[in-house]
Symmetry: C3
Amino acid sequence: MNHFLSVKDVDQVDNWLTEALSIKENPFQYAELGKNKTLGLIFFNSSLRTRMSSQRAAYNLGMNVIVMNVGTDSWKLEFEDGSVMAGDKAEHVREGAAVMGQYCDILGVRAFAGLTDREKDYQEEVLTAFQAYAGVPIISLESATRHPLQSFADLITIESTRKKARPKVVLSWAPHPRALPQAVANSFAEWMLEAEVDLSITHPKGYELDPEFVKDTPVIYDQEEAFEGADFVYVKNWSSYKRYGQVLNTEVTWQVRESLFTENSQCYVMHCLPVRRNVVLADDILNGPRSLVIEQAANRVVSAQTVLKQMLTT
Amino acid sequence: MNHFLSVKDVDQVDNWLTEALSIKENPFQYAELGKNKTLGLIFFNSSLRTRMSSQRAAYNLGMNVIVMNVGTDSWKLEFEDGSVMAGDKAEHVREGAAVMGQYCDILGVRAFAGLTDREKDYQEEVLTAFQAYAGVPIISLESATRHPLQSFADLITIESTRKKARPKVVLSWAPHPRALPQAVANSFAEWMLEAEVDLSITHPKGYELDPEFVKDTPVIYDQEEAFEGADFVYVKNWSSYKRYGQVLNTEVTWQVRESLFTENSQCYVMHCLPVRRNVVLADDILNGPRSLVIEQAANRVVSAQTVLKQMLTT
Amino acid sequence: MNHFLSVKDVDQVDNWLTEALSIKENPFQYAELGKNKTLGLIFFNSSLRTRMSSQRAAYNLGMNVIVMNVGTDSWKLEFEDGSVMAGDKAEHVREGAAVMGQYCDILGVRAFAGLTDREKDYQEEVLTAFQAYAGVPIISLESATRHPLQSFADLITIESTRKKARPKVVLSWAPHPRALPQAVANSFAEWMLEAEVDLSITHPKGYELDPEFVKDTPVIYDQEEAFEGADFVYVKNWSSYKRYGQVLNTEVTWQVRESLFTENSQCYVMHCLPVRRNVVLADDILNGPRSLVIEQAANRVVSAQTVLKQMLTT
């Protein structure tokens, strides 16, 4: 079965990128492909872009969509094997996932990291259970450690915008008032390492990402130095991987703002959204010509549609 | 771009009314018009009629629909420009609206008045922002100051029911336990002033509406006197515009009940719903032949479908 | 008007079963039947299977779907006639149901028992009101006293699995930490009494069901004795009907587990889900070959689709 949980589930990134650009050009070329097929979107957490772009992608392929907010529309799910379920969870994922798989041809699942237990988060309890029990292809709508539909959309955005064959891409940490997962950063690194780009990462000490995702990507602890000669700066906050889930400092100076770029810089700035203005990114970036954030969001339909198209045809 | 935020966005009310009556007669005549188009319904507040009738209207035109409850399905939005977003709002409307506009061909937006800051409410912060940033046509699903889909449905109802060329229409305030916006009353007045009716308004002193909406419409402070010779009485509570958002008194005697009408009166009674029985309208009205409230609600599909049809064809 | 509120609304159970098995075999044979028709799904309570399977069933018939969570998407509804609505309920079901009936061709309604007032629950206040005021066919998505779509799916499951002409079916009470309605048990009994099976019931004393539903079905108070020679054991918790809504004891020994069956037993175990593992049913049942729970859940699409098909064609 073909799942879409990480870049590892993509046989050839180049081919997928070509398909994506074709779908972007002509979104309705496969409008009959999903006839009589239903996509289930299962949310354990809030969502705006993912919720809407996945629906739109499915509609463009002629699919039907069922949206389920677990815990509000339905009951809380138990994930522990062997547990005596006498508490607040009325259904086990073994049944829950299997049942949803009976009603849908493909299931998208969103389940964020809890940020308290690193091992549990990095084992991807929720997505692993859905893979094991649903019996249908699973699409990650952002899991504890990855957000592949976002990273694929980011790659499409870079591909559509780049002015040189092999651009310099810098992933930059930025401050945020709350502890956030590493998922977007992990996933972005993982995809960039499969793409025709030179990746480097900049963040304050203590925010080193899991080597499993970033491999030997250069880390530069000085943000200004890291940005020199960059073609794309990808901005994102994440909490510490080492001191798991902690906000080590607020480092307000790491906010990405126009003054970090020279006057002639053609560097683009990216962010997956939602973004807190004047905390993560300054108004002057978001209101100016460097920002690709809306284009990235638009490409979420393209990445989701490409993934669904692959699943419907293989 | 063609928005639908008030009667001012309707070039010719008569033509729209003709179109509406044709759609009411044959709801599926444009069943292919919305193929491959998606309507987004963005709710900052609860909704029953608007939520369901807008979906039905879109389906009748062959459109797809995405529903988004802001703040529960997704995050809270910031509207203030220049704010440092370190609080509970994770996304600015500049991004939020722009992104939703990438996923939908038309956006319907509901955002009620806060009833604490009159200037802010009457500047229509939410709808103005969506107009500015979404990049697609916006339909008001009731804003701080207007409810044009309701008013258009009300006009269709009057047109379908009237027994004379120029009926006498009375907008009557009625009591309510909670402070309600002026939106329905404002909007009804605004539409009636564009229609072939004689409008007058009755309410206790202190409930005068914004002159911007009611112009020089006669106000009669005696409800019984106001109802004399009326063909349609439109009942609605609203809080004070002058002492903004306040419930000045409960005036239970203003409840509209059968005894206000003479035995031979052919006068119809209208209300936009939801209605609190035996507070706003008495059972004897709602259970009797004067009531048009269900017909009005049914015409919400017709008004939404007419607006969508206009947007899809211009 | 054809409603679907209990087995009494089925003219010939055998014919419906034949239709169901045909739909199960070929789910898309009526894919055009629901063109331009809309199913409204109105939830007063949480739902996973019902919510998703009803949507899927409607899609398989080419229908559109509108989902409404009463009280979160919209306002709370008043059901009392003659009440002065000055409290927290903004709309009366007389208007609410009538309006929803204007927007949908068929309405599914879920409203659980309150378990405090037996007479009120057994009068089916919510479904009775929708029947009276909506003006369109009503499908029970589980009411205070019945869950007919589940029971029909259960019958389809038995029919698809049985190894003899007239199997022995045992409805068994099982423990649960919370007070649950009698709806599933009532409804299962009612349907089995119309089917080609031999039904008996087992539960601790005090859990006798309403004779209206179980008629003269044998009750055996010893679970092991009851299971002897059974072909299907249907497990379900319910609270007391006599001491209404009470959990009389926790009777953990009534949990259904593999050791209750002899080694050679071919008996199947059924449950409507959600099920609390190791409280109601042991892991060894749910993970083993006796369990039909996922098949039952899958048949929820079939039962809903058969009911919708009947409504669309009569």
